[in-house]
Amino acid sequence: MKVNEALKVIDDGWVRKPKGFRVHFQKQVDSEWVTEYAPGEKEKALDSDVVAWRLAWKLSEARKSDKSENDDGDLVNIYIVDDLGHPIKYYASNQFEVFNRREI
């Protein structure tokens, strides 16, 4: 195996490099939960998970509510997904984290 081939195997199999990140959240619209992303799926994804997690945290803080009942506009189950739509670990804890977690 040539070195170039070995490097290709490493690139494909060792650490996956995501092509971008989006904030995943669920939003209540007319009493129904709708899944959305920021930036939207047609927009260019963020190239930084740090920025994406910061955006997620700010969204969760902005829509945090102590009320038990759900309101229109509530944003819940906020986390970061990669370009394939898979959740990624929070870089600060190396764990899968969800802000404003709510069972739906």
Binding site: D11, D47, Y91
Partner: protein
């Protein structure tokens, strides 16, 4: 005496017959220049929305300005009574002369080593070039100050142009304690760099070196390449992730320290030749 009188009379007649046209042409010139200035400003703002390269936007608006200026000058001269064909000839001669002068003297004119929109550093000044004129360059620093720097000063200084190359190397240096697992630390640091989407595989893949065995730490150096425009944020975020991931992995980052060993008189030295 009579000839002098005839001369004054001729001037008087000219003012009576052509004075109104001269005043009108002067008004066209002054009002035209004011209107040109306003129109160019509006045009510059408008094309700024469509043309994202500042240098090109500046060139296009300058061409727009010159065309309007020629129209105004031609109109003023025509109003003053000059024949249209003569005006055309004068403008063509002026145009050719300017082009000829530029072609001849262009190689002799020192050029600035940057373009509008580039991020540059000279001396202690770091910022983005907003505009250049014959005499000075307008720099916008990252803390919002506008600095006008004489071009002569720039030409005599070392200038770093951060846009000259597409990519730039990031250094993530971190010192770990001597009792820590070097290989694990190298692996963690390399993984942090590889999994970042902004880190490039060319011109070189991310690598971690053991830089030095310093007084209080083993110094590791992570090196990776990123797009020039993403340098600063990527660097800051890689450093942040390095600290957090090292904490998660239990790798202890060293800090400057000095161990003082105090021996009593009844204790023999630990190393031969050591004074008690």
């Amino acid at each position: 005496m009579e000839s002098q009188f005839a001369k004054y009379k001729a001037i008087g007649d000219l003012i009576v017959s052509q004075g109104q046209d001269f005043v009108l042409s002067l008004i066209i010139l002054v009002v035209g220049l004011i209107v040109i200035k306003i129109l160019t400003k509006l045009f510059r703002q408008m094309i700024g929305k469509f043309i994202f390269r500042p240098q090109m936007a500046s060139t296009v608006s300058n061409i727009f300005f010159v065309i309007l200026l020629l129209i105004v000058v031609a109109s003023a001269l025509e109003q003053a009574g000059m024949a249209t064909i003569v005006i055309r000839r004068i403008l063509i001669v002026i145009g050719l002369a300017v082009v000829g002068l530029i072609a001849v003297f262009r190689p002799l004119i020192p050029t600035l080593p940057f373009k509008v929109g580039n991020t540059v550093k000279f001396g202690d000044l770091l910022g983005k070039v907003e505009a250049t004129t014959i005499l000075n360059t307008r720099i916008r620093t990252f803390d919002g100050k506008t600095v006008f720097v004489p071009n002569s000063k720039i030409l005599n200084e070392f200038v770093i142009n951060y846009h000259f190359t597409d990519t730039r190397r990031i250094k993530v240096d971190v010192g770990i304690r001597y009792d820590q697992d070097i290989l694990k630390a190298k692996q963690v640091l390399e993984t942090i760099m590889i999994e970042d989407p902004r880190v490039l595989l060319k011109p070189a893949r991310p690598t971690v070196y053991v830089l030095n065995m310093a007084d209080n730490c083993v110094k590791l150096g992570g090196r990776c390449w990123v797009d020039n425009l993403k340098y600063w944020t990527t660097r800051c975020e890689l450093i942040e992730k390095t600290k957090l991931r090292f904490d998660q992995e239990g790798i202890i980052i060293a800090f400057p320290q000095l161990d003082v060993h105090h021996f009593h008189g009844d204790v023999s030295p630990e190393f031969p030749g050591e004074e008690i």
